[in-house]
């Protein structure tokens, strides 16, 4: 098929939007930590824009999307962007240049890595994080992306539905975050000290850029510009709106409608609608988002407050639980009438789809958890995952990056 200019415009701008999500995440996370760790938190995301992009073109895209090997992993045919050109790919998006599809996928890999850093901010050693990130991309992300999205991937063939990365991006990141928390342990002072967010407007700015960019993430995943992209776009917005509103109300019931809770809700809704966006009716998005907020809220209460697990920025509760719910919800609400490449879900009587989704969740989630523990232990052994006591007390901005966020006469 010839390249379509409209589809390409949509895929390119979507790639730019997804790129913007990573700095968005940097601010979303950066505003929530303590002042002494703002820059280091931002840097964990920003560095991915460099590191992961480079690995992606060297071998990442090839192992993820190259010629299939046993449904498990891609091949060597796209190494160094070999055979990835201005014409459409033979197997992926058929109306846009292969390069456009490749870079759209690159942006997903970048933000997935950036996502899990939120669990271990304020204590992880920067050098070790980079090494871990490179290994994690290679050993966890590339295979699982291939399973679900690669041509010939075993979960794809099984019929697991993941429109824009609920499983590949969010479950992967969320579960790995939890494994990392077990490896690194709590921040000094947690939970006795009130670790107050240093800058909530910065968190809101980050959430706004995430929401904005997520239109590219989800509606861009249609890979064409038209009815499907529009439907996914609407579902995405309703997922965010429904969850933001729900979280606001829950937090109000407990005490007051917080801004931090509302924007967190928005992000959780966006997470949950991600796998479903192009398979469900827009209105189902509203329900998926609203329910996601309830699940994440109480998951967070359980994990952080009841169990004292210091998943610092709640990556598992937001992305892990949100992603798992989204994957199940896709199995429930999917409608073949929305997307003929999809399937009917449980509400149309096809309970099998839920079962398939569970296979996706368990295989990807289980794999990510085990592998993260392994890679993390390895990195810990060779170079140490955590900064020392003094570095943590002084703050990572100064100890890891030799900088402080706000200069001036005095502070």
């Amino acid at each position: 098929m010839p390249i379509d200019t409209g589809d390409t415009a949509w895929l390119l701008i979507s790639s730019a939007l997804v790129m913007l999500m990573t700095p968005g995440l940097a601010f979303f996370y950066g505003g929530m930590v303590r002042r002494k760790n703002v820059l280091s938190t931002i840097m964990m995301s920003f560095a991915c824009l460099g590191l992961i992009a480079i690995l992606w073109v060297l071998y990442g895209y090839s192992f993820g999307f190259g010629t299939d090997h046993a449904g498990i992993i891609g091949g060597f045919n796209f190494l160094g962007l070999n055979n990835v050109g201005q014409e459409a790919s033979a197997v992926y998006a058929s109306t846009t240049p292969h390069l456009a599809f490749m870079i759209f996928q690159m942006m997903f890999a970048i933000i997935t890595v950036a996502l899990f850093t939120g669990a271990i901010v304020e204590r992880v050693k920067f050098s070790s994080l980079l090494v871990f990130a490179a290994l994690w991309l290679t050993i966890v992300y590339l295979p699982t992306a291939h399973w679900v999205w690669g041509s010939g991937g075993w979960l794809a063939k099984l019929g697991v539905l993941d429109f824009a990365g609920g499983t590949v991006v969010h479950i992967n990141a969320g579960v790995s975050a939890l494994a990392l928390v077990f490896l690194l342990g709590r921040r000094r002072g947690f939970p006795d000290e009130a670790m107050e967010p240093n800058n909530i407007p910065m968190v809101v700015m980050g959430a706004a850029l995430l929401w904005f960019g997520w239109f590219g993430f989800n509606a861009g995943s249609a890979l064409t510009s038209g009815g499907l992209a529009s439907s996914a776009f609407v579902a995405t917005n309703l997922g965010a709106a429904g969850a933001a509103f729900t979280w606001m109300i829950i937090s109000w019931i407990h005490k007051r409608p917080t801004v931090l809770g509302t924007v967190t809700g928005a992000v959780v809704g966006l997470v949950a609608i991600t796998p479903a966006a192009g398979f469900v009716t827009p209105l189902a998005g509203l329900a998926i988002g609203a329910i996601a907020a309830v699940i994440s809220y109480y998951g967070m209460v359980l994990l952080k407050i009841k169990r004292g697990v210091d998943d610092s920025l709640d990556v598992f509760a937001c992305h892990g639980l949100g992603g798992i719910w989204g994957a199940i919800a896709t199995g429930i609400f999917a409608a073949a009438s929305v997307n003929s490449a999809g399937a009917d879900g449980a509400i149309f009587g096809n309970w099998m789809q839920v079962a398939k989704q569970l296979v996706g969740i368990l295989s990807v989630g289980g794999f990510a958890f085990v592998m993260t523990l392994g890679i993390g232990k390895f990195v810990d052994k060779i170079m140490g995952l955590r900064v020392n006591r003094v570095e943590e007390t002084v703050g990572l901005d100064i100890s890891q990056h030799g900088e402080r966020a706000y200069g001036g006469f005095l502070r």
């Binding site: 009130a194 107050e196 967010p197 937090s251 407990h254 005490k255 007051r256 917080t258 931090l260 809770g261 967190t264 809220y297 967070m300 209460v301 952080k304 407050i305 709640d314």
Partner: protein, 112 residues
């Protein structure tokens, strides 16, 4: 000379400034501080759950005045910074042995 340090509520600054001005005490130095005392702290919210903040924002006014002015100044501050609720603040009076105006090198009375 005495230094009067008054810790007051932020929102009372304008009233106190105006009152002192009317009695022609114009010079002063103000800074942002946080304090705790009888006033109970705030309970703020995170994404989920709450945390307490017991150091609340206050302003500290520092004025160096002649001994004979201390009573008037204290009075003006007390009258204008009061709400009657816990947290209105304190005034402390400290002895000052010397004052110098940087611009001129003038000392003591001439300096303030």
């Amino acid at each position: 000379m005495k230094k009067i340090e008054a810790i007051i509520r932020e929102e009372k600054l304008d009233a106190v400034k105006k009152a002192l001005e009317e009695k022609s005490y114009f010079g002063m130095t103000v800074s942002e501080v946080s304090g705790r005392g009888k006033q109970k702290g705030l309970s703020l919210q995170w994404r989920v759950g709450e945390y307490r903040v017991d150091l609340l924002p206050k302003l500290k006014i520092e004025l160096v005045v002649l001994d004979e002015d201390v009573a008037t100044v204290i009075n003006a501050i007390v009258m204008n910074a009061r709400t009657g609720e816990a947290g209105d603040g304190k005034i402390f009076v400290l002895p000052v042995e010397m004052a110098v105006r940087v611009r001129t090198g003038d000392r003591n009375e001439a300096a303030i």
